[in-house]
């Protein structure tokens, strides 16, 4: 057993961090906020060229031939940098939708069940589950062309809380029978895991921001990070992040549905609660538009409501306890 990142994995992660530092630094991130989250096609192509979407496609299919553990490391960096766009859906669509792997196509996903659909505006394709009774990995519908136009025409834009993620409300026949049955299992599982990895990156980043602020801001003649009331908040942030990290990495290695549920649950909680603690530690500045912390919190809330919610994850994890596993045997739950 060796539960440590390999040298190659470390290099991949730092390569991704360098790339995002070059193509999506803070200035570009804030500019995207002011643009209202409209997708930057050239950034999308740069991600594609770097193998972000083709990472798990086999090499003979033009991909990079790596696995979920490596994908998780890239998505962690994306979450850390607040990288916008339907990253998870387009990554999942690589090999399914023409141009997705290369970053030429923008693909989003409609999970159904009244959940928000992100980044629909400029999307070239939408992934939807193929109706009730979907078996794992089968009957995924990809909406393009006229069908997509009809889908978009029926969707209602909402004023999105997250300035980096435009959202639509989707009604009518696409709402389907509920998210847990309307989306094929394997993709939904992977979506939950990659989304958890983004949450992990965000939780790590807000911990750093909180520590940085607490170590430089003075009040009462002392650095506020020397006060236990503040430093204990920071310690709790790390105590949320590290178990979530172990859960996310382990789930990426095993691909086990229950481990993925645990990873999503804990990473959602770490991202949301760390962002809130980070905001609190920033005091009045944390409540401003100018500080980045609200962007982390809003995105964390949004990710927590997608792919696998806390309620769904907890039910799945409960079903795993003991000999009777009703959710395991059926097509519901994650599968």
């Amino acid at each position: 057993m060796d539960f440590q990142l390999s040298d190659d994995q470390r290099a991949l992660r730092s390569g991704m961090r360098d790339l995002l530092g070059a193509v999506f630094d803070r200035d570009r991130m804030r500019a995207a906020v002011e643009r209202g989250g409209a997708l930057d096609r050239s950034l999308w192509r740069e991600l594609g060229a770097a193998g972000f979407f083709a990472l798990r496609l086999p090499e003979e299919a033009g991909g990079v031939g790596l696995g979920l553990p490596e994908a998780v490391l890239l998505f962690e960096e994306a979450g850390r940098a607040l990288l916008p766009g339907p990253l998870v859906a387009t990554h999942l669509a690589a090999g399914l939708v023409k141009g997705a792997a290369e970053g030429e196509a923008v693909v989003t996903a409609a999970e159904g069940g009244g959940r928000p659909v992100a980044d629909l505006g400029g999307a070239d394709a939408v992934l939807v589950g193929g109706g009730a009774g979907v078996v794992e990995g089968e009957r995924l519908e990809v909406l393009t062309g006229e069908v997509l136009e009809a889908f978009v025409a029926g969707a209602v834009p909402v004023r999105s809380m997250d300035p980096l993620t435009p959202l639509h409300r989707v009604e009518g026949r696409w709402e389907g029978a509920g998210a847990s049955e309307a989306y094929p299992g394997a993709l939904r599982r992977e979506g939950a895991l990659l989304s958890a990895a983004e949450q992990l990156g965000s939780a790590t980043r807000t911990t750093e921001m909180a520590v940085q602020h607490a170590g430089s801001r003075e009040q009462f003649g002392s650095l506020i990070g020397s006060f236990q009331a503040v430093k204990h908040l920071c310690a709790d942030m790390l105590a949320r992040t590290e178990p979530a990290r172990s859960a996310v990495y382990a789930a990426a290695v095993t691909g086990d549905p229950v481990e993925i549920a645990a990873a999503k649950l804990l990473a959602d909680e770490a991202a949301v609660r760390n962002a809130r603690d980070c905001l609190q530690i920033h005091g009045g500045m944390g409540f401003t538009w100018e500080a980045d912390v609200h962007l982390h919190l809003k995105r964390a809330w949004l990710r927590a409501a997608r792919w696998l919610t806390a309620a769904e994850a907890e039910e799945l994890l409960a079903a795993d306890l003991g000999p009777v596993r009703p959710l395991y045997s059926g097509s519901a739950a994650l599968g």
């Binding site: 539960f3 607490a214 920071c234 178990p243 645990a262 039910e315 795993d320 306890l321």
Partner: protein
């Protein structure tokens, strides 16, 4: 990242499983929790069986009489023994996990030869004399005095929270040898024989009703100078070696036990119908996530210590902080699963466990001290109040 165990590790696991299946049925029944001599006998019998089978001091270095096992093998050992329902380390705890490793790391050849083999064989039991009534979280404020008199130290003072004091042969004792020096620099580490004149042991009753530990009063107890491990006034550093062992793999068995308890809670809730309450069911689901993550974090910590040469890092504080709180949540959930009068029946295992669990956020460094350690030593925040 590779979570699979190697062939050698799986072979180690297989042999251990086979051995456990063979010996566990021959163990005598567990003694009453308040019968300390019987508990000692039970725990040392088990230690002797481990010794005879070659599993004693598994993680100790070979030159200390240990097996020089890798951290991963130690993890497997703790996982499998807990899974099989083998006895806990019990009365052997301080000897195997505190005093022994300290002597192994800091003792002279003569001291190692005197103290380590009896610990491994289960012949001698150690207790710990660290905390004092006025030195708890601020351990370095301890005041028990040791004054040189020829070849002896003459020790006076009192210690508290000393487990197994009534049945121990030795006490790893922290004493103040230089009252003038800064508080961390005037402390020494002594091995005190518990049959020395001047020692009075007064058992303390816990809120769970049992006598898990004692106060130890020392009235001019003579301890030979040759029983000092490490240099005079260097005892604080010597002690930190011990405490870093405590925060390493010390909780592996507990995490496995918690996962077993959680499975049992789910089974009981299904039996008594409370499973139909979605709030309770989801609470159990969340605990499943927590203990799965803590297990993976344990594996990550063990992997890390394997890479850095076997010394557990301070990342153990992150683990302990999270684990102690979650384990308390487990027994809160247990009370809800039991429900009604059963949640107040001390003959129900989980009712007593709920009470015992209240110590987890206090013992071995309170959660507040753990947060200070995490914030200052890992996150690099400034010291202060």
């Amino acid at each position: 990242m590779d979570l699979a165990y190697t062939e050698a590790e799986e072979e180690f696991r297989g042999r251990l499983r086979e051995w456990l299946a063979g010996v566990l049925p021959s163990l005598p029944p567990k003694p009453s929790p308040d019968d300390w001599p019987a508990r000692r006998a039970y725990d040392t019998t088990w230690q002797r069986m481990l010794y005879d089978a070659g599993y004693a001091g598994l993680h100790w270095p070979e030159d200390a009489g240990g097996r020089g096992a890798t951290p991963t093998q130690h993890l497997i050992f703790l996982e499998e023994t807990e899974r099989a329902g083998a006895p806990y380390v019990g009365a052997n705890f301080v000897g195997l996990l505190h005093a022994g490793p300290t002597v192994a790391a800091e003792g002279t050849a003569e001291q190692r030869a005197r103290w380590l083999p009896p610990v491994l064989r289960g012949d001698e039991i150690w207790c710990q004399g660290f905390s004092e009534p006025d030195a708890g979280s601020d351990l370095a404020a301890l005041r028990t005095r040791a004054v040189r008199d020829g070849d002896d130290y003459v020790v006076s003072g009192s210690k508290i929270w000393t487990s197994h004091a009534e049945v121990a042969d030795w006490c790893e004792l922290l004493v103040r040898t230089d009252p003038e020096a800064p508080k961390h620099r005037g402390i020494s580490w002594l091995a005190m024989p518990m049959d020395a004149p001047g020692i009075t042991v007064r058992p303390l009753r816990t809120l769970a009703g049992s006598t898990e530990f004692a106060e130890v009063f020392l009235d001019e107890v003579r301890v030979p100078v040759r029983n000092r491990v490490g240099a005079e006034n260097d005892g604080w550093r010597v002690t930190m070696v011990t405490l870093s062992f405590e925060r390493g793999t010390a909780f592996v068995g507990e995490v496995v036990a918690c996962r077993r308890t959680l499975e049992a809670l789910a089974a009981e809730a299904r039996r008594n119908g409370r499973w139909d309450d979605p709030v309770l069911r989801r609470r159990l689901g969340r605990l499943n996530a927590e203990f799965r993550a803590l297990w993976r974090l344990t594996q990550a910590n063990v992997s890390e210590s394997e890479r850095t040469g076997g010394v557990p890092g301070i990342g153990g504080s992150v683990f302990k902080l999270r684990y102690s709180g979650v384990r308390q949540d487990l027994y809160e959930a247990a009370a809800e699963v039991l429900g009604g009068v059963d949640a107040f029946d001390l003959d129900r295992e989980w009712t007593l466990d709920r009470l015992s669990s209240l110590s987890y956020t206090i013992a071995a460094g309170t959660s507040q001290i753990q947060r200070n350690i995490v914030a200052e030593r890992i996150l690099g925040l400034p010291k202060g109040r």
